[in-house]
Amino acid sequence: MNDFTNQQIQAYKPMTPAELASIVMNKQELYILDVRNEEDYSDWRIEGHGITSANLPYFDLLDGVEPALELLPEQGDVLVVCAKEGSSIFVAERLAESGRSSITYLQGGMKAWSEHLEPVHIGKLQDGGDLYQFVRLGKGCLSYMVLSGGEAAVIDSLRMTVVYKQFAFSRGARITHTIDTHLHADHISGGRALAEETGATYYLPSKDADEVVFAYSPLEHRSELRVGSTDLAIQPIYSPGHTIGSTSLIIDGQYLISGDILFVESIGRPDLAGKSGYWAGHLRTTLYDTYAALPKKLIVLPAHFSKYTELGEGGKVAAKLGDLFESNPGLHFTDEDTFRKAVTEQLPPQPNDYERIRQVNMGKETLTQDEQRDMEIGPNRCAIHDN
């Protein structure tokens, strides 16, 4: 009890996922003590330019937090993180009791972090339109909203549909289109649900929709979609390879929404439906012929990122197509054989539960919110270099 005579009990506070997102995107410094088990930590953790993190499972701290105190920097902010938040509160409380100041815990834990979407303004479109990227830092998913003349199109929507509805509402826009560039395997699509909730039309490439059990509008090559009352066009470009139906979108002649075909630091993997050998050829044609023929000034906006190093200014994930033909290793496999090997051999593990996620996205399986959340835990692993 005498321990407390010269050690003041400190307060500890929650940090919201939004606050953490702002730290990561602005490249601020933060020390993270992750108290999940080692397997979960090595599988998937919070990363960023200014983030330093260490792993010490909460069950190693049941007898006292001394091992953690030895590990932590003497001063500065510390964020304690666990799966849901219970164990991080448990550890944060004890760290605060021991006299360590500036202790916070992540509200809702990795589950909440995995669901947080941070909107980033990408650029202006003609006639006063805007393009936003929604960055899901916790999982590396990127979705988009095109705003124009009071209408909105949402591309590769995630299942957190309320975020898009609120954002569109705050801009005075009505969601009229929801578009999936392909049938996703790493996360549950929100495209159909968002369309149902808002009265929008849901578009999906028909070649990916062989087995879907719901109605949709086919996303057809060169069959333009219009958002708002202006001439703002979304131009679909058939670009198979990650899936057989994968379709890219050129927006307003400025942006190339590349889905899971081309990323900033890698390219898509062709194996998530068990047809890697067959789709590798399509992937090569898409990247080395179709994409190579597109204007180099297009800004590439992918559906995923895998490393925090892909986060650019203000947290946006984007790159000029011309620059990617210079720097992206996936665009430099000179002969067909090397390319085929790179996209079919030594691939990273597949995304968690990817087969069931595909079933859900085809409407064949219905799950509770909790089940959906659990199923999506972990990194997206959609690129060939995600090791």
Binding site: N37, E38, E39, D40, D60, L62, F90
Partner: protein, 207 residues
């Protein structure tokens, strides 16, 4: 989905509790167990599945396995309290066989070999040598004469070879003449197994 119930020395109810409570409670409950006894931890927090395995590994307790109950999402974790005497490899029963030799003997045998498994029922339930007879060490004295033939060759296994060493001495003293201790026990066994884990497709303790 009907799983025969697995016998444990004590049951801890952690249903409805979120992490860290299932582990906090398990740690406390296991303190009052006798080394070698088995606790069944009932939890609904799925996070407990990986955590309890990591925790057991670090503390030296022996994680036996987990069964999932029907559709209610209840997990039953089985853990055996570490017994400090088991860490010492101080075997005294002279007639021994290695796990590999036993496997070879089984393959060559014309009649079925008697394998006696003296581990706790929960350990046996998750994984055992096909056809092995289960009599936990604590019950051996009362059951040996009724259930075993003192003239047959008996190969005795446990997890590591220590409990089976004690069992061999007990059997030998009681007049069982052809008893062999399988040194390294189940931890050295690479042959076929039966039990809950085998049914789950050979899922390892630590995935």
């Amino acid at each position: 989905m009907t799983q025969p119930s697995i016998r444990a020395n004590t049951i801890l109810d952690c249903q409805g509790l979120a992490c860290p409570m299932p582990i906090v409670r398990t740690k406390k409950a296991i303190e009052s167990l006798i080394p070698g006894e088995v606790i069944e931890v009932q939890a609904t927090d799925r996070g407990s599945l990986a955590d309890i395995q990591s925790w057991a590994k670090k503390t030296g307790h022996h994680y036996l396995g987990t069964v999932e109950e029907g559709g209610g999402g209840m997990l039953k974790h089985f853990i055996r309290k570490a017994a400090s005497s088991e860490e010492k490899q101080d075997l005294s029963y002279p007639h021994t066989t290695t796990a590999d030799q036993l496997q070879k003997l089984q393959a060559d045998a014309i009649t079925k070999l008697v394998v006696l498994d003296v581990r706790e029922p929960a350990e046996y339930a998750f994984e055992h040598i096909p056809g092995a007879v289960s009599i936990p060490l604590g019950e051996l004295e009362h059951r040996m004469n009724q259930e075993l033939d003192s003239n047959t060759a008996i190969h005795v296994v446990c997890r590591s070879g220590n409990r089976s060493d004690i069992a061999c001495q007990m059997l030998s003293e009681a007049g069982f003449s052809k008893v062999h201790n399988v040194i390294s026990g189940m931890s050295g066994w690479t042959g076929a197994v039966e039990g809950i884990r085998a049914k789950e497709g050979g899922r390892a303790n630590h995935e």
